[in-house]
């Protein structure tokens, strides 16, 4: 009773921490019963809380006893599974050392317990009230889309990519990709690509007419008859329907940056990771794989046009990119938790 009265008297201070590759973003929002009163954001050149960051946080947290520290889980040992049934979870992943939660009774997101302890230990000076999974951020960000037809969703951060495939609100596949730990894999991918490119170059160098068999029965050319099928209007219409016009309109307002050399490499790395992940999705028998046509990207870093181009050209996906302020999204989750 008294606690409720006191709670109504004080503002709530929501501190949202997002750890990036080499810095930490702290977004603080002060809310009252009427809504958000004030917000402030600061970025610190450290991944661990230092004195400067603690001072910044303390300046606002001391204003009210009702302050909540929210952190976005950045551990690499996390993911999401397409079931909430406890019996089925072990089919996908061994969760014995993981903390997991069911999202809306449809799918499960998890993270390693050790990672949670590590976060709590790292932020012991300030304490931690909420630790959110990036998959929840992704699902909430695309709340309007995941209930629709099959699509690939990705939350792109500077060092992580959280990928999920949703169909009518049901999760089919999810993977959390760490850009730093997957460098070695990317190197292999890059070398494979180079080999393919060399092959292409050999093909482009010309056709050895001598090697062409004149007596070829032309059976291969018979397959050209299928071109008519591809040209049929019905198929084309179906292809057009798969596009999200509304999202395209929204996207046209956002102008994507031209890639510089650094972002080019990163975007290529991201593309490679997404490509590998999609390959996993298609190949892994445990997941219901259906051909993906659309992809929605929640862009928290400012990806370049190249990523979209790669995905569209190489993977034949209709890619829609939405800019997101991930710290504000974490704050929204904290508000939902507190029922604000």
């Amino acid at each position: 009773m008294f606690a409720k009265i006191f709670e109504a008297l004080y503002r709530k201070v929501l501190v949202n921490i997002v750890v990036k590759r080499a810095s930490t973003l702290v977004y603080i929002e002060m809310t009252s019963k009427k809504g958000a009163v004030d917000n402030v954001q600061s970025e610190f050149e450290t991944t661990k809380p230092d004195e400067k960051m603690l001072d910044f946080i303390t300046t606002y947290t001391k204003e009210s006893p009702y302050y909540y520290i929210s952190i976005l889980d950045m551990s690499s040992l996390q993911g999401a599974l397409p079931t909430c049934s406890k019996n089925r979870l072990s089919y996908y992943y061994d969760l014995s050392n993981c903390e997991y939660k069911c999202y809306d009774g449809k799918w499960t997101y998890y993270t390693a317990k050790t990672e949670l302890y590590e976060i709590e230990k790292t932020y012991k000076e300030t304490g931690v009230d909420f630790i959110f999974s990036p998959f929840v951020v992704l699902a909430n960000f695309f709340k309007d889309k995941i209930g629709g037809s099959l699509a690939l969703y990705a939350l792109v951060q500077d060092s992580f990519i959280s990928i999920a495939v949703f169909e009518e609100g049901k999760l089919l596949y999810a993977e959390h990709l760490d850009m730093e730990t997957s460098n070695e894999v990317d190197d292999i991918l890059l070398s494979n690509d180079m080999e393919e490119e060399n092959l292409d170059l050999e093909l482009d160098s010309g056709i050895d007419l001598e090697s062409v068999d004149v007596d070829d029965d032309g059976s291969e050319l018979d397959d050209l008859g299928d071109i008519e099928d591809l040209d049929s209007l019905e198929e084309l219409d179906e292809f057009d329907d798969s596009k999200d016009a509304e999202e395209e309109l929204l996207e046209s307002e956002d102008v994507l940056d031209e890639a510089d050399e650094g972002s080019f490499n990163e975007d290529y790395q991201r593309f490679s990771l997404i490509q590998t992940s999609i390959a996993h999705y298609y190949k892994d028998d445990r997941y219901e794989s259906t051909f993906l046509e659309n992809m929605y990207i929640a862009d928290a870093v400012g990806v370049s046009k190249d990523l979209k181009k790669y995905l569209e050209e190489e993977m034949f996906l209709n890619v829609y990119i939405r800019k997101t302020e991930i710290d504000a999204e974490v704050c929204e989750l904290a508000k939902e938790e507190l029922g604000l």
């Binding site: 709670e7 004080y10 006893p65 889980d73 939660k101 809306d104 931690v128 009230d129 909420f130 938790e337």
Partner: protein, 177 residues
């Protein structure tokens, strides 16, 4: 809906600063209440003591009155005692004077002192000795003197002398004293 892996810590408005302030105010309030209670108790104690003192004063006043009465009574008693003592002295002197009056030749066997008189019993060798040596002084003191003689076995005379003073004179003498 709950999304977080962990539950938020319990929040309380009683932060360290608030706790310090509350402790300070609580101690101050407790001290004030204690002082107030102490003063109330003292006030009660004083009024009780005052009532007891008033009661005691009244009792003492009553005692003093009683004692004054007793003192007055004792004074009265003392006066009476002194009066009696004086009278006794007077009487003693009177008796001494009386015995001084008795000559050697007359022997008294008994004397009765009355309020307004004296009865003497004794033996005298003869009437003359009695009349000249004892009756004369008795007449000078008492207004009425009656004497009876009867012979004793040894030839002497036994006598009974009854002497009275007039009442009016006796009263005058008392009032003079």
């Amino acid at each position: 809906m709950k999304y977080s892996y962990i539950k938020p810590r319990k929040k309380t408005p009683f932060t360290t600063d608030v706790q310090l302030i509350l402790t300070f105010f609580s101690i101050t309030l407790i001290m004030l209440l204690t002082t107030y209670a102490f003063l109330l108790f003292k006030d009660y104690s004083f009024s009780k003591e005052r009532k007891e003192l008033v009661k005691s004063r009244l009792a003492l006043e009553k005692n003093i009155e009683d004692m004054d009465n007793k003192i007055a009574y004792i004074k009265k008693q003392k006066e009476v005692a002194q009066k009696v003592h004086t009278q006794n002295m007077v009487l003693k002197d009177s008796i001494a004077n009386l015995f001084d009056l008795v000559p050697e030749r007359i022997t008294l066997s008994r004397a009765e002192l009355l309020k307004n008189g004296l009865i003497l019993y004794g033996v005298t060798p003869n009437k003359d000795v009695y009349n000249f040596m004892l009756q004369a002084p008795l007449r000078s003191i008492f207004q009425k003197t009656y004497t009876s003689f009867y012979p004793a076995q040894n030839g002497w005379l036994q006598f009974v002398s009854t002497n009275y003073i007039n009442e009016d004179e006796n009263e005058e003498l008392n009032s003079e004293n």
